[in-house]
């Protein structure tokens, strides 16, 4: 090279080696940045793909659950309300005017009874869709109400305690938490054979906590994650989806004493309910 052939002094060597070093460093830096970024982008794209898959599973679970709910509603209306109303109609047929007064009164009384039953049935359906206690009195009352009803059945001892819930969460957040609790309780009742369920609530450092304890068969976090990624466990996927909406977390664990399971829900506390 021209520079090498003519270099005589030490300064020239320093210049040549220094410049060469700088250029090599520059090229190395650029190559490193490009390769590093490509690696990061590939990793991100893989993560994004996995997240999309997960969301697809969650969406399918939500749709399936929605369809199941609709089917349940349709069945309730068709199998219970339909026959009741048809029976009431039978009592109130055209021949009623031709019958004697006592029979007329008897028929009207029977029809009224049936209509009352139908009203109760519709109310129950309506309550199952949106508990009025939750809407009117908040999460604490709704959960206490739910636990009292469960305990009232006599098969399981259910209790709940709210330690700090003076400032209610927003309505939509309360509904989501209530649905999650309902789903968890439903799972415990269905699968765990527990003899007690206890729920506690507390607030700590801008976080809202709910913890459910039960002494039956339960799952731990790894089971939950596994079920969440599989095609089974629609209810758990629904819990995950709902928690995403409120930016919350859920943790399934077994107590250190190994005697009961704990499910902890954690979500950011928002402004007080207006």
């Amino acid at each position: 090279m021209y520079f090498l052939q003519t270099t005589t002094s030490g300064v020239s060597t320093v210049l040549f080696l220094g410049t060469l070093g700088m250029v090599v460093l520059t090229v190395s830096l650029i190559v490193f940045i490009i390769f590093h970024q490509r690696k990061v982008l590939r990793y991100q794209s893989r993560l994004q793909h996995m997240e999309q898959e997960q969301q697809k599973i969650l969406l399918n679970a939500s749709i399936k659950l929605q369809e199941e709910e609709r089917q349940r509603l349709a069945a309730d209306l068709h199998d219970d309300a339909g026959p009741l109303l048809a029976t009431a109609r039978l009592y109130l047929n055209e021949n009623l005017v031709n019958q004697d007064k006592a029979t007329q009164l008897q028929s009207i009384f029977q029809a009224r009874q049936i209509i009352d039953d139908t009203i109760q049935l519709v109310r129950n359906i309506s309550h199952s869709l949106m508990p009025p206690t939750l809407k009117n009195f908040g999460l604490e009352s709704a959960i206490n109400d739910l636990f009292q009803k469960i305990s009232g059945s006599g098969t399981i001892n259910a209790s709940s305690r709210f330690h700090e819930y003076k400032d209610r969460l927003k309505g939509e957040k309360e509904l989501i938490i209530f649905r999650i609790v309902q789903e968890l309780i439903n799972n415990i009742l269905k699968h765990s054979s527990a003899s007690f369920i206890h729920l506690t609530q507390n607030v700590h450092a801008d976080k809202f906590y709910l913890r459910i304890h039960h002494d039956g068969r339960g799952i731990i976090q790894s089971d939950f994650d596994k079920l969440n990624k599989s095609n089974v466990g629609l209810g758990l996927k629904n819990i995950s989806s709902r928690l995403r909406v409120v930016h919350g977390n859920i943790n399934f664990e077994k107590d250190i004493s190994q005697t009961y399971y704990k499910v902890t829900i954690e979500l950011p506390k928002d402004e007080p309910y207006q």
Binding site: T19, Q55, S62, L65, R244
Partner: protein, 225 residues
């Protein structure tokens, strides 16, 4: 005329007129973004500065060099200042720029330089290296959906790395060379300068293209009832 003189003249003209590629690209691409304007003005200003360099009397050479270094530093810093969004980094850049200008003034008033204002040029190079590093650091910190070479500032950074890297030692050692040696090795600066200008011109292809789009996650509709 000596062969080496002819080559030197040729290199000099390539360097001077290559700067014009920046305003030309500005008009060709019709890109009215801030960085495109900065690059176009930079090209025009430096083309004129180099063109009239040999007409400047020797007694004003020091002032010319100080102005040259100051303008170069200002243009490079501007480009990075507007492309770095981290407020702390930007504050650091402002603070360092203030220090640099103060240092340049002190150096001009108190010290004498023979050929080049080597020390301010060295400091300028180090500072611009720091800004390039901050830019890359910020780019690597955030998750982008496009490759870094789709960002126009990447090409500016690469150009500057080559330019500053290639001319760093010759600027620093300028006063240690004999006239002959200096003339001989000054080609390095010309080469680095030309590479930088062409890489700056490449950045015009990417100015205005969105590279900051970050991935967003969607949550499916869940409230069934």
């Amino acid at each position: 005329m000596e062969k080496s003189k002819v080559i030197e003249k040729l290199f000099k003209h390539i360097v001077i007129y290559s700067y014009l590629i920046l305003p030309i690209f500005y008009f060709i691409f019709g890109n009215k973004k801030r960085d495109a304007k900065i690059l176009a003005i930079y090209g025009l200003v430096f083309c004129l500065l180099l063109f009239f360099y040999y007409d400047i009397p020797v007694e004003y050479d020091r002032y010319y060099q100080t102005l040259y270094t100051f303008l170069e530093y200002s243009f490079f810093t501007c480009l990075f200042y507007f492309n770095i969004s981290n407020k702390t980094y930007r504050k650091v850049m402002l603070y360092l720029s203030f220090c640099f200008v103060t240092f340049q003034i002190i150096f001009l008033l108190l010290f004498d330089s023979n050929r080049l204002d080597s020390v301010p040029v060295g400091v300028e190079s180090i500072l611009v290296f720091v800004y390039i590093f901050l830019f890359f650091l910020e780019e690597m910190k955030y998750s982008r959906t496009t490759y870094i070479y789709h960002h126009h500032c990447f090409w500016i950074s690469v150009g500057l790395l080559f330019y500053l890297g290639g001319s760093f030692f010759i600027n620093i050692l300028a006063d240690s060379f004999t006239n002959e040696e200096f003339q001989k090795y000054w080609y390095l600066n010309y080469i680095a300068d030309t590479i930088k200008t062409f890489l700056f011109a490449t950045s015009f292809l990417f100015i205005g293209k969105k590279s900051n789009a970050r991935s967003t996650s969607t949550v499916p509709y869940l409230d069934m009832i």
